[in-house]
């Protein structure tokens, strides 16, 4: 029996998992339309590569990964692109993002896939490239592009932790996935282990999922150096840092990455998707979504990415009295402003909320500094102080108290006897600090650009002056002295200087080039000139006379 460790704090909310884990994973019906956001992951959004009206096949890339941290987005089924525009997405803000709307043709026809019988001979960079192109991202909630995490790190990775803890109440998608597809998850784990050059794979599953543990242990017995371990059920035991602590005893300190300590962590769903992507060439176009709460038959669906949330909820039979849809669990999830948005890669659970399940929040009372929040905080923070600073908008102080180590698990709010929405305060403070940091970064960049511009203008001015001086020097050398007195008069500005330079140059040229036809003339030519001069004088006289006669007014 492996020695397990414990982390600080934690709570035991009612798990509410039995409602949805009794039914097998059902394939969701083909929806009437799919709304697929181009940015479902951390980092840069994908660049759209299809046009409105274009017919696409299932699995065809519609958004190409672009930039360092990015992942591709695919057509979830075959059909026609109806629109590429801004649509509300599954995000707590309800703000629109660029989405591709796909009307399915019902044929569900795959694009030609590139399966890999044996991935072992393939260079790791190619495998990572395949993962990126297949749009494989972390399905545990962070949606970080997986290829970015799967390389041999500076520090040797000893342990790959596969996270099947699923500590949040209501959610059962990983549970069902482990029960039904354990073999494939472990194939994916093997692939990940190879990419990371890790020694062992530890799969952590909370002990309230005996079927999943049995399935995973059975599958793990066929692999060397893999172990499925039952961990105590305590919220938030499925947090990456917490699970790493429980399984390996390693404490991931503030500001340190687990990879620096030789541990990398992935969700079981990510391992499954990575395996499908490499072995069968199937991009990430569907995921398991738990639909539960105020519905007739709570269960897990394998839903296409982009399926409108309302249609998926309807499939489970939405009951009257639903007040809203929560994406994620009741502890960390967010209330969605709209159920029109499509399922995204981060959608692990949809809970139809009702007043019976989630009574309206009780009135908030002042903080009595009972420190129960500090007792349950898994990050060993002082939530009561953080609350105080966030409330007073004293952001620098909140940061000093390690606000950014907060994982927003909600354990503090759960136990708060004064019903204070603590996590809301932390989220507010975090996003405020991020905005400030972004502003500071922009200001620094602007300062740098401005200073560069100033120095460039200075340099250009100097270079011009130098050029001019050199020209004048050359002119003075080649020509006679006539213009020196004018040169001494300082030209006032750039324009005058330019004009002066042009005049000087013309004069210098005139001085050097002597008209050749005024010397050594024949008497005949002299006579001609005299005649011309006489004619000019006569014309001048006539002109003078006429202007005198008719003075212009």
């Amino acid at each position: 029996m492996r020695k397990l460790y414990t982390f600080h704090g934690g709570v035991h909310p009612d798990t509410c998992k039995a409602q949805s884990n009794g039914r097998p994973i059902a394939k969701a019906k083909l929806p009437s339309k799919l709304v697929i956001p181009l940015r479902q992951h951390v980092g840069h959004g994908a660049r759209v590569v299809v046009e409105v009206g274009e017919h696409v096949k299932k699995g065809q890339i519609i958004g190409q990964a672009e930039g360092h941290v990015s992942s591709s987005v695919h057509a979830s089924t075959s059909g026609t692109i109806a629109a590429i525009d801004m649509q509300p997405v599954a995000h707590p803000s309800g703000l629109p993002e660029l989405c591709v709307t796909l009307i399915p043709d019902g044929l569900d026809e795959w694009v030609t896939l590139e399966p890999l019988e044996d991935w072992r001979g393939i260079p790791h960079s190619d495998l990572r490239h395949r993962l990126r192109n297949a749009g494989v991202v972390g399905l545990g909630g962070a949606v970080f592009p997986s290829d970015m995490k799967l390389y041999a790190h500076k520090h040797k990775i000893r342990t790959l932790v596969l996270n099947g803890a699923e500590c949040e109440p209501y959610i059962t998608c990983d549970d069902l996935l482990m029960r039904e597809r354990a073999e494939e998850i472990l194939m994916g784990a093997e692939l990940m282990r190879e990419l990371l050059h890790a020694d062992e794979v530890l799969i952590g599953i909370e002990d309230n999922k005996p079927e999943a543990i049995a399935a995973m242990q059975n599958a793990a017995s066929k692999h060397s150096s893999m172990e499925a371990i039952a961990v105590p059920t305590i919220y938030p035991g499925g947090g990456a840092k917490q699970l790493i602590r429980v399984l390996t005893g390693i404490e991931v300190a503030a500001g340190v990455r687990s990879t620096d300590l030789g541990v990398q962590c992935f969700n079981v769903g990510t391992a499954y998707s990575a395996w499908r992507a490499i072995r069968f060439g199937e991009p990430l176009i569907s995921r398991i979504v738990t639909v539960t709460g105020n519905v007739a038959s709570p269960q897990n669906f394998e839903a296409l990415i982009g399926t409108p949330i309302a249609e998926l909820i309807a499939e489970a039979g939405q009951l009257p009295g639903t007040t809203g849809i929560i994406m994620g669990g009741p502890m960390m999830g967010v209330l969605l402003p709209s159920d029109k948005a499509g399922v995204i890669k981060a959608t692990n659970c949809l809970i139809a909320a009702s007043d019976a399940l989630f009574p309206p929040p009780k009135p908030v009372l002042p903080c009595i500094r009972c420190t129960r929040c500090a007792e349950v905080c898994p990050a060993e923070l002082q939530p009561q102080d953080l609350y105080w600073f966030a409330r007073a908008k004293n952001l620098a102080k909140a940061e000093d108290y390690h606000l950014f180590d907060c994982i927003e698990c909600g354990a503090c709010s759960y136990v708060c006897p004064s019903n204070i929405p603590l996590v809301q305060y932390y989220r507010f403070a975090k996003s405020e600090i991020w905005a400030q940091q972004a502003g500071q970064k922009a200001a620094d960049a602007a300062r740098e650009r401005h200073e560069f511009r100033e120095s460039r203008l200075e340099r250009e001015k100097r270079e011009k002056a130098e050029k001019l001086a050199a020209k004048e020097k050359a002119a003075a050398k080649g020509a006679s002295p006539p213009v020196t007195d004018k040169q001494n008069a300082e030209p006032v500005d750039e324009m005058q200087r330019k004009i002066q330079a042009a005049i000087d140059q013309a004069k210098a040229q005139a001085a050097t080039v002597k008209p050749r036809n005024t010397e050594q003339l024949t008497p005949q030519q002299m006579a001609e000139i005299a005649e011309i001069e006489a004619r000019r004088a006569r014309i001048r006289e006539i002109a003078q006379a006429s202007t005198d006669a008719q003075p212009r007014e």
Partner: protein, 184 residues
């Protein structure tokens, strides 16, 4: 008595020499306060304060010739920061100075005649283009200073407020009703 005087004198000379050396060796060029103030200013280089850029304004504040409430792009928050830094009282914006929503310049590219006047006006080189070629604003580098707007002879530059997106969206400050106090 005499030796004591000698010893004190020697110590005084040595320490004086050390201080003198340090004053020359570790001399700080310019006023470090100017840089500190400059770091707080938003670097829009817009000149709305009446100075030709953020650094000149910072210098003026450091010299005590300018007020701290002249920078609209910095907002009230900026005034708070300056007040904290300088140990003075917060001063609200006076009269006509009102902070505007942060925006970026947008060139209507079909109207642009390629005169380069806006390029010359931009304090952060955020406009690209050449004579008789269409110009465009690099939105990511634009500070929203509006200095390019007046020189444009065809009025093709407009200021577009930065929209809230999912990437710059912020969680709102929690607002809820406090409990009505129970009468005792």
């Amino acid at each position: 008595m005499f030796s004591a005087l000698l010893a004190m004198g020697a110590i005084a000379i040595t320490l004086g020499a050390v201080l003198g050396f340090a004053a020359i060796r570790f001399r700080v060029e310019g006023n470090p306060l100017v840089d500190k103030i400059d770091a707080v200013l938003p670097q829009t280089q817009c000149g709305q304060c009446g100075y030709p850029g953020c650094k000149p304004y910072a210098t003026a504040i450091a010299e005590g010739t300018a007020d701290i409430n002249l920078c609209p792009p910095g907002g009230e928050e900026g005034i708070h920061k300056l007040a904290d830094l300088l140990g003075t009282e917060f001063k609200p914006f006076g009269g006509s100075t009102v902070p505007k929503p942060k925006s970026v310049a947008l060139i209507d590219e079909s109207t642009c005649i390629g005169c380069t006047l806006c390029i010359q006006a931009c304090p952060v080189d955020a406009i690209v283009g050449a004579a008789k070629q269409m110009h465009t604003v690099i939105a990511a580098e634009c500070t929203g200073c509006e200095l390019c707007v007046p020189p444009c002879p065809v009025d093709c530059i407009s200021m577009v407020p930065i929209m809230e997106t999912t990437s710059n969206w912020k969680w709102k400050y929690p607002v809820y009703a406090m409990t009505p106090s129970t009468p005792s």
